[in-house]
């Protein structure tokens, strides 16, 4: 089984400053990876390199064995809670349909299979009864689910999410992770996490972005690994099925 994502000697920087240096990671099919690291460490940048929105300064990324641009049809992307216009005139299904643009002809309207894919994606995220609702009128958690439906409508094999739970209530977050767990049965998932509060019982690997970028199986993520990543000023608190950090500052 070849890797879904393979980076070799990947380096990237904005201007002269190098942000990511010699990243060598490989993510196998079916994995559920959460990307963690301090603010400004390059988590989102790494995701954008996987998407081909940014070009590496040195080294390279391959997604499904080809360049990120060529792999885009097989990749679904859920952006960081987007800065959307609250009056924007679209319904939930309109947004889900936008995930079909890469798969339909250039001209004309949506076809029946586009509509079916969009509706079934909304169904999968539990929003089939809200398909006709004004997108802006949905709650934060529902909007985030619609954006996942948009990614799913294109029929991806790899799902990339950028801080999908930022700003969501804890109980909504819980349901959200259950949805991802369900999706992980057929998709490889890479999720940037806004803090170390990842849910460990179904996240299979942790990709730590710091001075160096390393993948650990979840079982290996110990206080030492995290202390090393965050510079030592971290205290771990173990919960029933999640672990989260406390006592370190984001800067």
């Amino acid at each position: 089984m070849s890797a879904v994502i393979a980076c070799r000697d990947l380096s990237f920087g904005y201007g002269a400053e190098s942000l990511l240096k010699d990243v060598n990671v490989s993510i196998p099919a079916g994995d559920f990876v959460t990307v963690v690291g301090p603010n400004g460490s390059g988590k989102t940048t790494l995701l954008k390199l996987f998407l081909g929105l940014l070009k590496p300064a040195r080294g390279g990324v391959e997604i499904f064995g080809v360049s990120p641009r060529r792999a885009r049809r097989r990749v679904g992307y859920v952006p960081q809670h987007p800065r959307l216009d609250p009056l924007f005139p679209v319904s939930a299904v309109d947004v889900a349909l936008m995930g079909r643009l890469g798969r339909t002809p250039l001209l004309g309207g949506w076809r029946r299979d586009d509509r079916e894919a969009a509706l079934s994606a909304l169904d999968e995220v539990g929003l089939s009864d809200r398909a006709g609702d004004h997108f802006a009128a949905l709650s934060g958690g529902q909007k985030q689910r619609v954006l996942i439906a948009r990614a799913l409508a294109g029929g991806p094999e790899l799902l990339l999410l950028d801080e999908p739970t930022a700003g969501l209530d804890a109980h909504i977050e819980e349901g959200f992770y259950r949805l991802l767990e369900e999706l992980n049965k057929r998709l490889t998932i890479v999720m940037v996490s806004h803090d170390l509060g990842f849910v460990s019982h179904f996240v299979k690997s942790v990709l730590c972005v710091g001075r160096e970028v390393v993948v650990h199986p979840t079982s290996e993520v110990t206080g030492e690994v995290i202390a090393d990543l965050y510079g030592g000023d971290v205290r771990l608190v173990r919960h029933d099925h999640r672990c989260s950090e406390e006592g370190h500052r984001h800067d």
């Binding site: 929105l53 992307y77 952006p79 005139p89 679209v90 309109d94 643009l101 890469g102 004309g108």
Partner: protein
């Protein structure tokens, strides 16, 4: 009112004016909606003002060199498209600040127009009608040209409505879907340019920005989907131009200005009615 109706049956220029207003309502609602959701009102403003350069040049050529083959509207189309291209190119590909480029196109276009008009001997009453519109001076040739532009705008937006919506909603995601975002932004600017030209004959260069965006912004307060927003905006635009024409005729006020006053009143009233608890 009966006086107006009698005048309407008697005077061809009033019939042309009505037709011009109704025709302009179509791209006004459709393209105006994109301008509003893509938030490019001030790009449209820059394009509108640069139209004076084209109008001035054609006017100059007609009076000074006797060239009558080109109608002022064609001059307006060329100027608007050039302005759209410059804004798209300098503000997009060349990476300059978009608002600086808009300001440059806006003022340079006006300045060129003023220079051409100054070089043209004779009365400068045309300047006022360019700036504030004179729907009562619409000719049959203008109507044909406007009709062609409206058809073109409708066909293009019909063919690419999904891409235009996606680029307006989330350009980064559209790019990931393989939509050439830069080209569709340019296309939207070109459509805006053509729409501006059609609207200039109704309300003039300075007021066009309000007619292009306020009916769409008003419609957006009531519509939840783009199609509904466009339909409502077209209806509003038609009602506003006809209303402006009717209200201005009796007291002999400028139709363009009355139309815009009406447009502004409707917009602010709608905002108050649909006020949200933020």
């Amino acid at each position: 009112m009966t006086e107006l109706l009698t005048a309407f049956t008697e005077h061809r220029f009033l019939q042309y004016a009505l037709l011009a207003g109704l025709l302009a309502a179509i791209p006004c609602g459709v393209v105006g909606s994109y301008v509003v959701i893509r938030r490019i009102t001030y790009m449209a403003g820059g394009i509108a003002h640069s139209v004076l350069a084209g109008l001035g040049l054609v006017h100059y050529m007609q009076v000074v060199h006797g060239v009558t083959a080109v109608s002022p509207m064609v001059g307006a189309i060329v100027a608007a498209l050039v302005a759209a291209a410059v804004i798209g190119w300098v503000g997009g590909s060349m990476g300059q600040r978009v608002d600086s480029v808009i300001g440059a196109v806006w003022a340079v276009g006006m300045a060129l127009g003023v220079v051409f008009i100054a070089l043209t001997p004779g009365y400068t009453t045309d300047l006022m009608s360019y700036l504030f519109g004179n729907i009562l001076m619409v000719t049959a040739r203008d109507l044909w040209l406007a009709g062609t532009l409206v058809l073109l705008v409708l066909v293009v937006t019909g063919l690419f409505h999904r891409q235009l919506l996606a680029v307006s909603f989330d350009a980064e995601y559209a790019e990931l879907q393989g939509v050439p975002v830069g080209r569709f932004t340019a296309l939207l600017l070109a459509l805006t340019a053509l729409t501006v030209v059609v609207l200039v004959s109704v309300v003039g260069i300075i007021l066009v920005i309000a007619l292009l965006t306020l009916p769409a912004a008003t419609a957006n307060l009531f519509a939840r989907r783009l199609g509904g927003m466009m339909a409502l905006a077209v209806g509003l635009c038609a009602a506003l131009t006809v209303g402006g024409l009717a209200l201005s005729y009796g007291p002999d006020l400028p139709a363009g200005a009355v139309t815009i006053l009406l447009t502004g009143v409707v917009y602010f009233a709608a905002v108050l009615v649909r006020r949200r608890n933020v």
